[in-house]
Symmetry: C2
Subunit: 150 residues, 2 copies
């Protein structure tokens, strides 16, 4: 069951400048940053609020590390803007299977590693009224994110 | 101060079909619906989670009521997808003025009426790294939304 807006993924050309825009304009600070080589992105998570399922909502700022990554190709086509939205769930595997069973294309056979050691998958935007939609199960709070392999 | 992701605004061609997609796929139900003639939209709010500032996060599904509305023109250019993001604040007037003072274009001279009797304004996407950004102050919980003039 999807219990929160986990994050809004925003693609940008220059992560440092975009982080600085969000800090200077709104006072939002970087909560976590990492490079995800599999996804081909350098990213910063800005934590905006806590949610009543025990999680939180973030902005995820994404800069491609290579032009042929999904985000790199998207940026070349669309320019900067909202790239995807993500819902949090305690069971990304079960929810992805249930949603696949309703005829919505799930982009990965098995969930992969996302921000902060989470497990993630994506739903095809053409099956979701134009919205690239991610499902996220956060890593347990005790996880040592610095040791997660990317 | 912006204290939550208030909503994600999603433009669609057919509100009823899109509401049904979100219900059938994820189990999200309509919390509120209205027509905002000033904005030229028919909309449905799907409440996803509560937030730790006492508010909540929603998906806002938007169908234009006329082709020459902002959302109508956006849809004709982009097709369905994420139209804007919105941050919640206790003081949209003060925050909009402070942000205007930082050189970000605020689209309204004074905040206008948004969903559920809220006060809203928008920031120019070209000043926000491609993201049309809304600021929202919710109506007090005691407000009778049905009597709010639109």
């Amino acid at each position: 069951m999807l219990t929160r807006i986990d994050h809004i993924g925003i693609a940008c050309f220059d992560l440092d400048r975009t982080v600085e825009f969000y800090r200077a304009t709104y006072g939002f600070e970087v909560y976590h940053s990492e490079v995800n080589e599999e996804q081909g992105v350098r990213e910063a998570m800005l934590r905006i609020n806590a949610t009543d399922d025990g999680g939180a909502s973030y902005l995820q700022l994404l800069e491609p590390t290579r032009e042929d990554s999904a985000v790199g190709k998207w940026l070349a086509r669309n320019g900067e803007g909202v790239h995807h939205i993500a819902f949090g769930t305690a069971d990304v595997d079960g929810d992805a299977e249930a949603i696949r069973g309703k005829g919505v294309r799930v982009l990965y056979d098995e969930p992969r590693t996302g921000s902060m050691g989470s497990r993630i998958t994506f739903l095809h935007p053409k099956d979701c009224h134009g919205v690239l939609t991610e499902l996220v199960t956060s890593a347990p709070p005790s996880a040592d994110h610095s040791s997660v392999e990317h």
